[in-house]
Symmetry: C2
Subunit: 336 residues, 2 copies
């Protein structure tokens, strides 16, 4: 009997928050891998804010997901059949395998995972693209020095929680911004941030002023919008803003809100720089080794929030935009 | 009989475009210079968009002009009396001498001008702060390489016209953006820009797309607003935006318009960096020598638009915001 695949295909370009009907749930037979191809049984699917951008038609750093194509997502799975000499059945791999149960791949863009240092799910979290984004965004673009004040938004989220911990490892004064008292507690008490601001109940600008008396030297931005504007009012001279994301704006039905206070860049001779993790691919192994070492030493913690069931994808994905996840949001579609 | 000074003092913080009544015109006796002070008879006053910012109460890179204080402005004049051993009567100096006829100074922040290389007014233009702003903003922050595409807004203005010419000297492909057919003609035919866009009659985004087929690598921004947003849609990977000013936004009565398309910084791994000329003060002499050499070789042209009469100040200043000046706008208050 043929192996059946289940997948979510993009059905429509969302307006605002994606709806269930923006995808079609499909059942199709799994295709036999051809020459040089391999078949992967997906275990974990990484749910990332960037996926929302891939659903739009506009030009970006990758082409948009086409209507009728499997929704793009990073995922981790086990090779169950391989006609590609570089991969063997039983190995674990991750890459842009999509929101589905099985993927046939020619191997390009796939990375092998050798589990052992951490549970498999961590390879989509701190030891995966999420961790790499935090590592290179903070260290290569933000370049904080010991003692400098680093502010991270989306601080309890996948990337922000890692970026803030790396800043602590680098001996910075680290202030997180997050959307609930629980998240603020988490980043301070569990992750060791120096302080956290609950943007839903506090005046972010005033809290930043209190918590960053010398001004902000590095801001790692995952959210954009009003929080970015508040941070801009509290920059120190020579500040560096890392633009990693703008989750507050991804589901706008009107035009994106630009940072009204951007002239603070001039006043403070500051910079705002965009980063994409893929540019650092050649250095991923080196960074992953360092991250694994920090994790083994207990200096870096990874938390994954794992939701079971491929069918829950449309609802689970929305947790990202409702601020309902702490740490890395992962969809589990099969047992490891 | 006592020498009389005439000056414009700030009377009120403007809302929107400054009005005549935002200043008081005052007549007061000139104070005798005290120990270590000197008295300057002002000849030329530099009119700059930045002066609008100094009239606001908000925190900036210099304190706001106080109500009742002489309006701050760069100016150039002749020392007519000196009790400061570093300056002698008859010498020419420039600095923040204010919108007035006579200034008493302790000499701090004053630079001596040795005329000869160019008419005196050029020392407020291409050979003064204006030229230094263009030079260091373009070369130190923009860092264009030969063959790269450089776009300059406010291209017929004081700073933009110099920035574009320096980019041509550095063998770049230079596109200017300006507000009239005459200004576009000026920058292309007289200053040697490769092309110019009239933002009042053209679709800036489409024109940029046509004129910058490889995308924009360096953008020298003097204007902000919709033009900055249009440029953001046409960046090349690794683009560098120099934030030198945002004249389109200085007289807003509502909040400043932030660049809605700033996530193009992420897509293109681009940066947006603010600059202030004063940070490069130690290197002004070196830069001024190079600029004077380019001018002597005919590679760099300076145009000053000189309006006579201190009393015209409130109206003349507004020419900056109405786009009525080409080149450096200067108020002449005495014969050289």
């Amino acid at each position: 009997m043929a192996l059946m695949n289940h997948s979510f295909e993009l059905a429509a370009r969302p307006v605002g928050l994606p709806k269930r009907t923006d995808w079609n749930f499909k059942e199709t037979p799994v295709r036999e891998p051809g020459a040089d191809e391999l078949l992967v049984k997906i275990i974990y699917i990484s749910l990332d804010p960037a996926m929302r951008g891939w659903m739009n038609e506009s030009r970006s750093y990758v082409p948009p997901v086409g209507i009728g194509e499997v929704m793009r997502a990073l995922a981790l799975g086990r090779v169950i059949e391989s006609r590609n000499p570089k991969f063997a059945a039983g190995e674990f791999v991750y890459g842009a395998l999509g929101v589905q149960e099985y993927a046939v791949s020619n191997g390009s863009g796939l990375t092998k995972v050798v589990p052992g240092a951490a549970p498999l799910s961590v390879y989509l979290g701190a030891l995966g693209m999420t961790g790499m984004t935090a590592y290179f965004g903070l260290l290569e673009v933000g370049r904080p020095q010991p003692g400098e004040t680093v502010v991270v938004s989306g601080a309890a989220g996948a990337v922000g929680s890692v970026a803030g911990q790396i800043a602590k490892i680098k001996e910075c004064h680290v202030v997180g911004i997050a959307g609930s008292a629980e998240k603020c507690d988490y980043v301070v008490k569990e992750l060791g941030f120096d302080a956290a601001i609950n943007y839903k109940t506090e005046d972010v600008r005033k809290s930043l002023q209190n918590l960053c008396p010398k001004g902000i030297i590095v801001y790692f931005d995952n959210v954009g919008g009003d929080i970015l504007d508040a941070v801009l009012t509290q920059l120190a001279r020579g500040a560096r803003i890392v633009i990693c994301g703008a989750i507050s704006q991804y589901n706008n039905t009107t035009r994106m809100k630009g940072p009204s206070n951007y002239m603070s860049l001039l006043v403070n001779r500051a910079s705002m720089t965009g980063m994409l993790v893929f540019d650092y691919a050649a250095r991923f192994p080196e960074a992953a080794r360092e991250m694994a070492k920090w994790m083994a030493e207990g200096k870096l913690k990874s938390r994954e929030q794992i939701v079971e069931g491929l069918q829950t994808f449309p609802d689970t994905f929305l947790k990202l935009f409702a601020g309902e996840n702490t740490g890395k949001l992962i969809l589990k579609v099969a047992e490891p």
